[in-house]
C-alpha cells in the first residue's frame, strides 16, 4: 500500500511536470495574446508562458484532487458511518506550505529580472511626449516639434515616452507593446521600449476618465526608419490614409494643413462624428449638417460664428442632451487663428 502510494505520487509528479513544461514551451498562445510588437512583449510573453505552465500544474492538482474526491469518496446510500478521525499530517502540511512558497519565490525572482530588463534605460532614445486629455491622445516629438494624434514610431529604435495628462488620470495602453502607464495630472512619467514589428496597432485608454473613456483610442504606426523620417520631415501631416484621401491636396506645412487633417490632429473624432471626414465619435454631438443647423442655435449667431465660439468657448452654449465641461476648454490656446479659420469654414460647409 505504502509503496503503491509512493509509486503513484512519482508517476503523477512526472506527468504534471511534463504537462507544465509542454504548456510553458509548446502550446500556442497566439489566440490569447495580441500582436507581439515590442522588446517588452517578447520578455513579458516568455514570463507569461512560464506562469501559464506553473498555473496549469496547480490547476490540475487542485481541480484533479477535487474531482477525484467527489467521484471516489461519495457516501453510499445507507452508509451512516463516520469518516476517519484524521486531524492532520505535519509532513504533508509542511510540504504544501513550502512548495507554494518556493514556486512564488521563483516567479517573483523571474518577474523581477524581467522588470529590470524591460525598464533598462536605452541610450539615445527617441523622445515622445504622450499627452492624455478627455478624450483623445496627442503625441509631440520635441526634437522636431511635430505634433500628431496618431503615434508614429520607427521600428527597432528605442523610444522614451514622457507621459502626462491635461485633466484627469488616463492610462496609455498599447496591448501589442504589453505595457501601459497612467497619465497622471501634475507629473511626467517615463516609459521606455523598442518597437520591433512594423504595423499598425491600437492605443487605448485603460483608466476610466469620464464619459468618452471608451472612445479614447488611437493608433500607433510602427514604420521603417525611412518612412518615419519622411513623416517627421513632412511635419507630421502624412497622417492616416483615410484622412489623406479626404484631404484637399494643399502643401504639407503644419500651419496650413487641411481641415480633415486638423480634425485628426486635434482629436475631434474621439467625440464627434462627421461622415465627410470619417469621424465616428459617439460622445459629443454629431457634426453632420452643422453648417445648416448651427445657424439656429444661438440668437444672433450665424453658423460660422456659432462654430467658432463652440470651439474656443465650448461651455458658452451646450447642445441639448450633452453635458458642459466635457469638451476641452483650452483650444483657444492650442489652435492658431489660421487653423481655426480653416476648420470653421470647412465645418460651415457641411
Amino acid at each position: 500500500m505504502k509503496e503503491r502510494t509512493i509509486f503513484t505520487v512519482i508517476i503523477l509528479s512526472l506527468v504534471l511536470i511534463t504537462v507544465g513544461y509542454l504548456v510553458a514551451t509548446q502550446v500556442d498562445f497566439s489566440w490569447l495574446l495580441p500582436a507581439q510588437a515590442s522588446s517588452r512583449a517578447v520578455l513579458v510573453d516568455r514570463l507569461f508562458r512560464v506562469m501559464m505552465g506553473i498555473a496549469a500544474v496547480i490547476f490540475l492538482i487542485v481541480e484533479g484532487a477535487l474531482v477525484y474526491a467527489v467521484l471516489r469518496f461519495r457516501r453510499k446510500p445507507g452508509d451512516d458511518r463516520e469518516g476517519l478521525p484524521v486531524h492532520g499530517n505535519n509532513t504533508l502540511e509542511i510540504v504544501w506550505t513550502l512548495i507554494p512558497a518556493v514556486i512564488v519565490a521563483v516567479i517573483g525572482i523571474y518577474s523581477y529580472r524581467v522588470l529590470t530588463d524591460v525598464e533598462r534605460k536605452p541610450s539615445d532614445p527617441l523622445v515622445v511626449r504622450v499627452i492624455g486629455q478627455q478624450f483623445a491622445w496627442s503625441f509631440e516629438y520635441p526634437d522636431s516639434g511635430v505634433k500628431s494624434s496618431v503615434l508614429h514610431l520607427p521600428v527597432d529604435h528605442p523610444v522614451q515616452f514622457q507621459i502626462e495628462s491635461r485633466d484627469v488620470i488616463h492610462s496609455f495602453w498599447v496591448p501589442a507593446f504589453r505595457v501601459k502607464h497612467d497619465a497622471t495630472p501634475g507629473q511626467i512619467d517615463e516609459l521606455v521600449l523598442t518597437p520591433t514589428e512594423i504595423g499598425t496597432f491600437p492605443v487605448r485608454c485603460a483608466e476610466l476618465c469620464g464619459v468618452g473613456h471608451a472612445a479614447m483610442t488611437t493608433e500607433v504606426k510602427v514604420e521603417s526608419q525611412e518612412d518615419f523620417q519622411a513623416w517627421i520631415d513632412s511635419g507630421g501631416t502624412l497622417v492616416s490614409s483615410a484622412t489623406t484621401a479626404a484631404g484637399s491636396g494643399t502643401d504639407n506645412s503644419a500651419a496650413t494643413a487641411s481641415a480633415p487633417e486638423l480634425l485628426v490632429q486635434f482629436g475631434c473624432g474621439a467625440c464627434h462624428s462627421l461622415s465627410a471626414a470619417s469621424l465616428a465619435g459617439i460622445v459629443g454631438p454629431a457634426l453632420d449638417g452643422i453648417g445648416t443647423w448651427g445657424a439656429d442655435r444661438v440668437e444672433g449667431q450665424d453658423a460660422q460664428t456659432y462654430i467658432r465660439n463652440s470651439i474656443v468657448e465650448p461651455n458658452a452654449y451646450v447642445e441639448k442632451g450633452y453635458a458642459p465641461g466635457v469638451m476641452p476648454q483650452d483650444f483657444s490656446t492650442r489652435i492658431s487663428q489660421e487653423q481655426l479659420d480653416v476648420l470653421v469654414s470647412y465645418l460651415a460647409s457641411q
Binding site: 490547476f59 463516520e82 469518516g83 476517519l84 518577474s111 488620470i169 495602453w173 497622471t184 507629473q187 485603460a206
Partner: protein
C-alpha cells in the same frame, strides 16, 4: 389568556424584523435580507451593463448612464452586499457558535444595522441628482469634478464604513469575552476565527477609507484643495489611501467565506477539519499580510518605481496561506463520506472557482505581466472569480447550511441543486471569456469596444443572464420553504458546533441552559457516532 395571545407570546411576531430590536438573531436576519435585496439591485445593474456590452456599439446606455451603472454596481455589491452580509451571518452565528446569549453591545449592534438602509437609499437616490460616475475607486481628480451624486456616494460609503467599524468592535469584544465556559481559542469554530481576523482588518483599514472620503467630500463641498492638482494636490495620495482600505477589503470579503467553507466540509465529509491550527493561523496571516499589499493596484500609476517590488513580493506571499487553506480543505474531504447537499455543492464550487481567481492573482502580482493586463478585462474576470465564484458561492453555501437553523424549516434540495448548477455554469460562462478579452487588449469600464472582442462579450452576457435566472430558484426556495418547508429539527446535519445544539430557530437567549464546551467542534469520525458538545453547566 386567550389562545391567540398565547401564540403571540410564544411565536414572536414577524413585524419585529422591521423594528429597532437588539436580539442578535433578529439583527442577523435584518442584515441578510436587506443585503440580499441590494444584491438583486446590484445584479440588475450588472445585467443592464452586460446587455449594453452584448454587442459592440452603444445600443442601450449612453456613456454617462454606463459610467453611473458601473460605479453603482461595484459600490452596491461591495459596500451593501458582500461586506454587510458577512456582518449579518457573523451577527446571527458568532454568539450561537461560542455559546453566548447575545452580542457584547446589543444596542451598538442594532445601530450598526440601521445605518445600512439609509446609506443604501442615499446611494440609490443619487440617481435622481446625477449619480456617481467615476467608478467605485472614485479616482481623483475625476471624482472631485463629478456631479452631486458623488457627494451622496461619499456620504453613503462613510455611513457604511462606520457601520462596519462598529460591527467589528462588537465581534472582537464578543469573541474575546463571551465564549462559553471551557472554550479556548483553539476550540473556536473556524468561521469565528475568520470573522475575528476580518474584524481586526476592518478596524485597521476602514478608518483610512472613511477619512479619505471625508477629504473628497470637503474638496467638493467646502473648496479644500487636497486633490486639486494645480494647487499642489496629489492624485497618487488618494490611490494610496483608497487601496490601503480597498485591498484589505478583498480579504474582508473573502475570509468569512473561507470560514464557512471550513464549517461545511467536516460536516458533510464526516471527518475532522484537516489542519485546524494551520487554517486558523492562515486566516491571521492573510489578515496581517493583506494590510501590506495595497500598492499592487498602482504598478501602472506614477508611484515611486522602486517601491513596486516589495509590494509584488508581499502580494505573492499571500498565495502561501491561501494555498494552505485550499490544501487543508482537500485534506478534509479526502477519504471522507461525502454527501452532496446544496451547501456542500456550493463549498466545492467555491474551491474550484476561487482557485482560478487565486492563480490569476499571481499573474497580476507579477509587475511585468500586470503592466499589460492591469485595468483590462483580465482584472474584471479575476476579481469576479474571487468575489462571485468565491465570496458569493460561500454566501450561498452559508445561507443553505444555516437555513434550517434560522427558519426552523428545511429548504428544497432539488431547487437548491438547480440553483447551484445554474450559478456554477453562469459564473464560468460569464467570467472565463473576460480573461481572453482582457489579454487581447480590452480595457475595463468601457461602454463600447473593438469588434474583435464581440464573441467573448456575447458569451459573457449570456452567462450573466444565466446568473440572473439562477437567483429565481433560490428566492422561490427561500421564501416558500420558510412557510411550507418540512420542520428541520434542531440539528439536521448532525453537526457539532454549538449553534446546532439548540432549537431551530433558537430561543430568545439562544440556549435553554448555559452551554459548556465539552467537545471540540470538529470531532467527527469518532466511533460511536459523534454526540453533541453541550452539557448543562454545573449547578445550573
Amino acid at each position: 389568556m386567550t389562545v391567540e395571545a398565547q401564540i403571540a407570546q410564544e411565536k414572536p411576531n414577524w413585524r419585529r424584523y422591521f423594528t429597532w430590536n437588539t436580539d442578535h438573531k433578529v439583527i442577523g436576519v435584518q442584515y441578510m435580507v436587506t443585503t440580499f435585496f441590494f444584491f438583486l439591485i446590484g445584479g440588475a445593474l450588472a445585467m443592464l451593463i452586460r446587455s449594453e456590452l452584448a454587442q459592440p456599439g452603444t445600443d442601450i446606455l449612453n456613456g454617462v448612464q454606463y459610467n453611473r451603472f458601473l460605479t453603482n454596481h461595484g459600490s452596491v455589491m461591495i459596500f451593501l452586499w458582500i461586506i454587510p452580509i458577512w456582518a449579518g451571518m457573523g451577527n446571527y452565528f458568532i454568539p450561537l457558535m461560542i455559546g453566548a446569549r447575545d452580542m457584547a453591545f446589543p444596542k451598538l449592534n442594532a445601530l450598526s444595522f440601521w445605518l445600512i438602509p439609509p446609506a443604501g437609499l442615499i446611494m440609490l437616490a443619487s440617481f435622481f441628482v446625477g449619480a456617481a460616475e467615476s467608478g467605485w475607486t472614485a479616482y481623483v481628480p475625476l471624482s472631485v469634478a463629478a456631479p452631486f451624486g458623488q457627494t451622496l456616494w461619499a456620504v453613503s460609503v462613510i455611513l457604511l464604513g462606520t457601520s462596519s467599524i462598529m460591527g467589528s468592535i462588537n465581534f472582537v469584544t464578543t469573541v474575546l469575552t463571551m465564549r462559553a465556559e471551557g472554550m479556548g481559542f483553539w476550540d473556536l469554530p473556524l468561521f469565528v476565527w475568520s470573522m475575528l481576523a476580518t474584524a481586526l482588518m476592518v478596524l485597521v483599514a476602514t478608518p483610512m477609507l472613511t477619512a479619505g472620503l471625508v477629504l473628497i467630500a470637503m474638496d467638493r463641498l467646502v473648496g479644500t484643495l487636497f486633490f486639486n492638482v494645480p494647487a499642489g494636490g496629489d492624485p497618487i495620495f488618494w490611490q494610496n489611501v483608497f487601496w490601503f482600505y480597498s485591498h484589505p477589503a478583498v480579504y474582508i470579503m473573502i475570509l468569512p467565506g473561507m470560514g464557512i467553507i471550513s464549517e461545511i466540509f467536516p460536516v458533510f465529509s464526516r471527518k475532522p477539519i484537516f489542519g485546524y491550527k494551520a487554517i486558523a493561523f492562515s486566516s491571521l496571516a492573510i489578515s496581517i499580510l493583506g494590510l501590506t499589499v495595497w500598492a499592487h493596484h498602482m504598478f501602472a500609476s506614477g508611484m515611486n518605481p522602486a517601491l513596486r517590488v516589495p509590494y509584488m513580493i508581499t502580494s505573492m506571499i499571500i498565495a502561501v496561506p491561501t494555498g494552505v487553506k485550499i490544501f487543508s480543505w482537500l485534506g478534509t474531504i479526502w477519504d471522507g463520506k461525502l454527501s452532496f447537499t446544496t451547501p456542500m455543492l456550493f463549498a466545492l464550487g467555491f474551491i474550484s472557482m476561487f482557485l482560478i481567481g487565486g492563480i490569476t492573482g499571481i499573474f497580476l502580482a507579477s509587475i511585468p505581466v500586470d503592466l499589460h493586463v492591469h485595468d483590462s478585462y483580465f482584472v474584471v474576470a479575476h476579481l469576479h472569480f474571487v468575489l462571485f465564484g468565491g465570496a458569493v458561492s460561500a454566501v450561498y453555501a452559508g445561507l443553505y447550511y444555516w437555513y434550517p437553523k434560522v427558519t426552523g424549516r428545511m429548504y428544497n434540495e432539488k431547487l437548491g441543486k438547480t440553483h447551484f448548477w445554474l450559478n456554477f455554469l453562469g459564473t464560468n460562462l460569464t467570467y472565463l471569456p473576460m480573461f481572453v478579452a482582457g489579454l487581447l487588449g480590452m480595457p475595463r469600464r468601457v461602454v463600447d469596444y473593438a469588434p474583435e472582442f464581440a464573441s467573448y462579450n456575447m458569451l459573457a452576457t449570456i452567462g450573466a443572464f444565466l446568473l440572473g435566472i439562477s437567483t429565481l430558484p433560490f428566492l422561490y426556495n427561500a421564501i416558500v420553504s420558510w412557510v411550507r418547508g418540512p420542520k428541520a429539527g434542531s440539528n439536521p446535519w448532525r453537526a457539532l458546533t454549538l449553534e446546532w445544539q439548540t432549537s431551530s430557530p433558537p430561543p430568545e437567549h439562544n440556549f435553554e441552559d448555559t452551554p459548556v464546551m465539552t467537545r471540540w467542534p470538529y470531532d467527527y469520525g469518532e466511533s460511536p457516532l459523534a454526540e453533541p458538545g453541550v452539557a448543562p453547566a454545573a449547578g445550573d
